[in-house]
């Protein structure tokens, strides 16, 4: 976290670009490739040239697989898959190649690479472009998965991902990244609006980027009656819910996981051991995912607590009304929290 120094502010997307610029300037093995990166990363393309910022064909399985090989042979790829949904086209590269290398080689060979993808919904694009999938990815041993919720974390976690010695999936929520929402949602229109978490879309950042430790959650709000655990946009929905619950004299804590894998068991356990009430807010699918996993680690730690979850339960609808009802919302969080009190 930034502390002390004079404060500069940035957009979420600007922070990622700034951190990447800092990292690329200090390590010329870092290369960016993926779909449309000339247009998407035009400033980095101009600064670092075609050799380091290279557009790919729409061939996800080839270029994601190539990122694994490039990482194994000395490069540090930041490979862009556009939407996390499109990873479905290329799962072999992650599931059976990148994630297995370290284990198969007896720990002697690693693939340090960052898979950058936009995730999340809230702008009416339908269920093939709005999934979160972090739980699905975190299920695979050998993959790290991070999803920042603020500009400061967005930049710092990009450095974390670049410094990690294995594959990291870096997820950028579209409601936080202004350009994605502009490209896929409004398209220049002023006739549409979105529930953008303002403190996630813009905010203070450090003067110089430093990596956070991987797998470290942060307590966004202290609270003794109930603990809300979430990641990415869900964190902001939780903070809104916590403010509303405070008016009902409910002291609500909010934990931002930041990293889905590895998961910060200690921070979650400490908070829930005090509050005895846990509500997970997960934009990813409910079943067989993060929400169940967090419950499992607390039970393994021998804790007794009341439990609830607010997640996405089915295919995300295209219709904005149906979508609003399907994704975790502040209203649903407040309602679920009340049931635990």
């Amino acid at each position: 976290m930034a502390e002390g120094k004079k404060i500069r502010t940035m957009s979420f997307a600007g922070a990622i670009e700034d951190a990447l610029g800092q990292a690329m300037a200090s390590d010329n093995r870092i290369v960016i490739f993926g779909e449309d990166v000339h247009g998407l990363r035009m400033n980095l393309f101009v600064r670092f040239g075609e050799k380091r910022v290279r557009p790919t064909p729409i061939s996800e399985s080839a270029f994601l697989g190539a990122a694994v090989g490039a990482a194994m042979a000395g490069l540090k790829p930041v490979v862009e898959i556009m939407m996390v949904d499109f990873l479905g086209v290329a799962m072999d590269a992650l599931l059976n190649e990148a994630a297995k290398l370290e284990a198969f080689s007896g720990g002697k060979w690693k693939a340090p690479m960052v898979v950058r993808a936009a995730c999340g919904g809230g702008y009416g694009d339908g269920g093939q472009h709005e999934q979160s999938l972090w739980g699905w990815l975190a299920h695979i041993p050998g993959l790290a998965v991070v999803a920042p919720s603020t500009p400061a974390d967005a930049g710092s976690l990009m450095l974390t991902a670049l410094q990690h010695d294995g594959p990291v999936v870096y997820l950028e929520h579209k409601l936080l990244s202004n350009y994605w929402l502009e490209y896929l949602g409004s398209g220049g229109r002023t006739t549409v609006s979105y529930d953008i978490p303002l403190e996630g879309a813009n905010g203070p950042v450090p003067d110089t980027w430093e990596a956070l430790p991987l797998g470290r959650a942060v307590t966004r709000r202290e609270g003794s009656d109930i603990t809300l655990v979430s990641v990415a946009v869900g964190v902001h929905r939780c903070l809104e819910a916590a403010a509303a619950l405070e008016k009902e004299s409910v002291s609500t804590g909010v934990i931002d996981l930041r990293s889905i894998s590895p998961l910060d068991r200690k921070t979650i356990c400490e908070a829930v051991s005090k509050s005895k009430r846990l509500l997970i807010v997960d934009e990813d699918y409910r079943d067989f995912g993060l929400s169940g996993e967090v419950a499992a680690i607390l039970l393994e730690a021998g804790l007794t607590f009341k439990y609830g979850r607010v997640c996405t339960e089915g295919t995300i609808p295209y219709s904005r009304n149906l979508e609003d009802a399907a994704l975790p919302s502040t209203g649903r969080i407040i309602e679920a929290a009340r049931k635990l009190l």
């Binding site: 300037a25 000339h38 247009g39 600064r47 557009p55 490209y183 949602g185």
Partner: protein, 333 residues
């Protein structure tokens, strides 16, 4: 159905006017998310769809509206779907990128290249259950670099499936110029898999109709799969509100100049090359906006000049049909 130029023109015009109405709804904020139109590729779609009959299947990409309109899907049902209504074609669940009509054996996907495998499966079912029926896959030159599509070429060829792969070549892979990321020639690729292959000017609907007719006839006769590459313009960018089209060079200039001088970084020559590449990307989209000489409707209209009164009547008829569909879609709650 009639297959003269006027009939083909009618298919194209209905689709164009429909998508113009959709554009207005999108601009008014009544349609959410992205909106990929098929404006510019109507000649390709009409020239193929005009040959289809009941029992034939279509696997569609993210530009699924024109094929469904031309195949006869109810316009009000489509509009309601785009408006996110529970009485829409897919109950508001799919939107324009995920349109399905079981009745027409037509299915779309927003995942680039996925129409290849899907059409292959449709063709398997046709070969087994209904010999004489065929399936069509619509996709673009961008999709032609997807492994699953090339694997489908092979599967269709190995199994001699009744399938036509239709590549709408608009030279773009989203916001990247296709030739920059494509090795070799797409039609040569198809041939090398053993597919019968043809290339055609996709803005000439009669030429597409003739070429597709031959390939579809072969498929119906059990003579195997084929590939049709049709060159066509992308008149509305990748999607409505395409950022490349809206690029404001005055706004971008500041950050780009900062990037141009930031140290350390690439050589001045490399940076200048990057700037040139960006300018050419933006420039190409701007030029294409005015590419009306490649508009399949304009071309057909010029040929139909002698039937002016018929064209006027057709225009009025289609406008009335679309107005009615709009009223129906907006009225019922």
């Amino acid at each position: 159905m009639g297959t003269d130029l006027q009939a083909l023109y009618r298919l194209m015009l209905r689709s164009r006017r429909f998508e113009e109405a959709v554009t207005k709804l999108w601009e008014a904020g009544k349609i959410s998310g992205e909106m990929h139109l098929g404006v510019g590729e109507e000649g390709v779609v009409a020239g193929v769809v005009a040959h289809l009959r009941d029992g034939d299947a279509m696997a569609l990409d993210h530009r699924g509206t024109p094929p469904l309109v031309m195949r006869g899907v109810d316009l009000a049902l489509l509009l309601k779907e785009f408006l996110g209504r529970s009485d829409g074609l897919c109950k508001g669940m799919g939107g324009h990128m995920h349109l399905f009509s079981a009745q027409h054996l037509a299915a779309s996907s927003g995942i680039v290249g996925s129409s290849g495998p899907l059409a292959t499966g449709f063709a398997m079912a046709a070969q087994y259950l209904h010999p004489g029926n065929i399936s069509v896959a619509f996709f673009g030159d961008g999709a032609s670099n997807q492994g699953m599509l090339l694997e489908s070429f092979n599967l269709a060829s190995a199994w001699q499936l009744p399938l036509i792969f239709v590549c709408k070549d608009n030279t773009w892979a989203i916001a990247t110029q296709s030739p920059k990321v494509t090795g070799g020639d797409i039609t040569d690729r198809a041939r090398s898999f053993g597919l019968e292959a043809a290339e055609v000017d996709g803005s000439d609907v009669e030429a597409v109709y003739a070429a597709a007719g031959h390939l579809i006839e072969r498929a119906r006769d059990g003579d195997g799969p084929s590939f049709l590459l049709a060159h066509c313009p992308r008149l509305e960018g990748h999607y409505l509100g395409d950022p490349l089209r809206r690029a404001n060079m005055m706004e971008l200039a500041g950050p780009l100049m900062t990037a141009f001088v930031a140290q350390p970084g690439a050589s001045v020559a490399e940076r200048a090359y990057s700037l040139g590449t960006l300018l050419s990307l933006v420039g190409k989209t701007t030029v294409e906006k005015n590419w009306r000489r490649h508009d399949p409707l304009d071309k057909a209209r010029r040929k139909l000049q002698s039937q002016k009164s018929g064209l006027d009547a057709l225009e009025k008829e289609i406008e009335a049909e679309i107005r009615l569909a709009l009223e129906t879609a907006m009225m019922e709650a």
